[in-house]
């Protein structure tokens, strides 16, 4: 298994996520190739001009095409943006011509054929539950974990061709169960983190995230697991701010799924960046 890893912009704020992905991938024999020419996926530009955003996405696809590799993503917004572009350009020749006209200025061209897949989906579908189970060294028994799927990991559903149910998803919960932890169900599970409006209306955005943290705490979870660095900014980086703004108290550690899996695979917490999460998972690690 070999992929070009597409980090995206936000991962610059989540090195711990990348560390865990890197460790887990290495152990599972997934080769992740870093291509220097990747840039922004195009998502932030969609709201400004859709064709420009498609062109930025297509340029990234062309970088992978030149390297002869498919793309593994770690951010859900990058996943949806690049997947949508790849699918659209597969059948829309007119758009492909338009986009390639723009790419010509940087001597690039995209001819199709590059598939895009989120790293967590690669774990679920390509590595598979059996192989993952065989790598578990330390079962996370007694740990109750709430999965936050986030929006773009599963939606728009038509671009993901039937991967999971976008209203009642289960794949991330199944991945949690593989670690020996107990998946916790909670109200409004598919609620958005609000991240896309953080720069537009901060209080509103924090309020959306506050509702989710409240639902998760009420359900009795010990921690949250997720697969998108922007969702993590909302629940981990902003958790203290949310608590002070809304006079609430959560103290819920937020682990990227590869960190949770890495812990169960026996990695030292520091190797998978668990010392870099903002809400310290100290108690959780102490229980191991």
């Amino acid at each position: 298994m070999k992929y070009a890893i597409f980090l995206g912009c936000t991962i610059a704020r989540a090195r711990h996520y990348e560390m865990a992905v890197s460790k887990v991938a290495e152990r599972l024999g997934i080769e992740l190739v870093y291509l220097d020419d990747f840039a922004c996926c195009g998502f932030p530009v969609r709201s400004v001009d859709w064709l420009s955003a498609m062109s930025l996405s297509a340029r990234n696809l062309s970088v992978a095409e030149s390297a002869g590799l498919d793309i593994a993503t770690v951010c859900s917004a990058c996943t949806a943006t690049l997947t949508e572009c790849s699918k659209e350009l597969e059948h829309n020749q007119e758009l492909r011509d338009q986009v390639n006209e723009k790419l010509a200025v940087v001597n690039a061209e995209y001819n199709g054929g590059v598939t895009v897949k989120h790293f967590a989906r690669i774990l679920y579908e390509d590595v598979g539950p059996d192989r993952l189970r065989s790598e578990i060294k330390r079962k996370l028994t007694d740990l109750k974990v709430a999965s936050h799927y986030g929006c773009h990991y599963l939606k728009p559903s038509e671009i993901y061709e039937g991967f999971d149910d976008h209203e009642f998803p289960r794949t991330l919960d199944e991945l949690v169960a593989i670690t020996g932890a107990t998946p916790v169900d909670y109200q409004n599970k598919m609620r958005c983190c609000g991240g896309s409006v953080l720069a537009i209306d901060e209080e509103l955005c924090l309020n959306i995230a506050n509702g989710k943290l409240d639902d998760i705490k009420t359900a009795g979870a010990d921690c949250i697991t997720l697969v998108c660095p922007f969702c993590s900014i909302m629940y981990d980086d902003n958790q203290r701010k949310i608590e002070s703004t809304f006079n609430s108290s959560y103290n819920l550690p937020v682990l990227f799924y590869p960190q949770l899996l890495g812990l169960a695979m026996g990695f030292d917490p520091r190797e998978i960046g668990l010392n870099m999460n903002r809400v310290k998972p100290t108690e959780l690690i102490a229980q191991m």
């Binding site: 220097d36 922004c40 340029r59 728009p156 955005c205």
Partner: protein, 172 residues
């Protein structure tokens, strides 16, 4: 208050819905039959009356062009796709909002946050620049170094004509 309660028919632009329908993402706008499923499932609308999807579609179909394009609410969609998934008429409201934002930008109404992001992507190819300090920390974490910036993204933004927004700092 009168402005809020009354619609002045002579000020409406009946072609606005066609303009939206002809912009990528807006193709299905006229399918809406106002059931309100979009507003019922919207995480932003649940907490704020500032953003009401059903009302926005109504405003577009009525032709309230200036009001919609100069509003703050067009920037409040969180792109969670809940409305898009649940809409019985496949209006694809999240994409309609993209179309409306694109038209608003052309009319000089770009939200400052998006202008700032465009500027960053144009100059460094990504939102966050990677400096030497970052790369030293990456090395300590066992991760390969990343290039500081990517210039191709800026060239593409130049080629698509978006750099004009950066030259005159948009309208907003």
């Amino acid at each position: 208050m009168e402005d809020k309660a009354h619609i002045v028919v002579s000020k409406l632009d009946p072609k606005f819905k066609d303009e939206v329908a002809n912009t990528p993402g807006g193709e299905h706008i006229k399918r809406c039959f106002f059931c309100g499923t979009c507003s019922a499932g919207c995480p932003v609308h649940e907490l704020s009356d500032k953003y009401n999807p059903r009302k926005i579609i109504r405003m577009i179909l009525l032709g309230m062009r200036d009001k919609v394009l100069s509003s703050d609410f067009v920037w409040l969609c969180s792109t969670c796709y809940t409305c898009r998934e649940r809409c019985p008429q496949d209006v694809k409201l999240s994409d309609v909002m993209t179309a409306v934002r694109n038209i608003a930008v052309k009319e000089g109404h770009i939200h400052p946050a998006y202008l700032q992001q465009l500027n960053l992507i144009s100059t460094q190819g990504k939102i966050y620049e990677i400096d030497e300090f970052d790369n030293r920390r990456r090395e300590r974490a066992g991760l390969p170094p990343l290039p500081a910036k990517n210039e191709d993204a800026g060239s593409i933004i130049e080629a698509t004509g978006l750099s004009r927004l950066l030259a005159n700092r948009g309208g907003s």
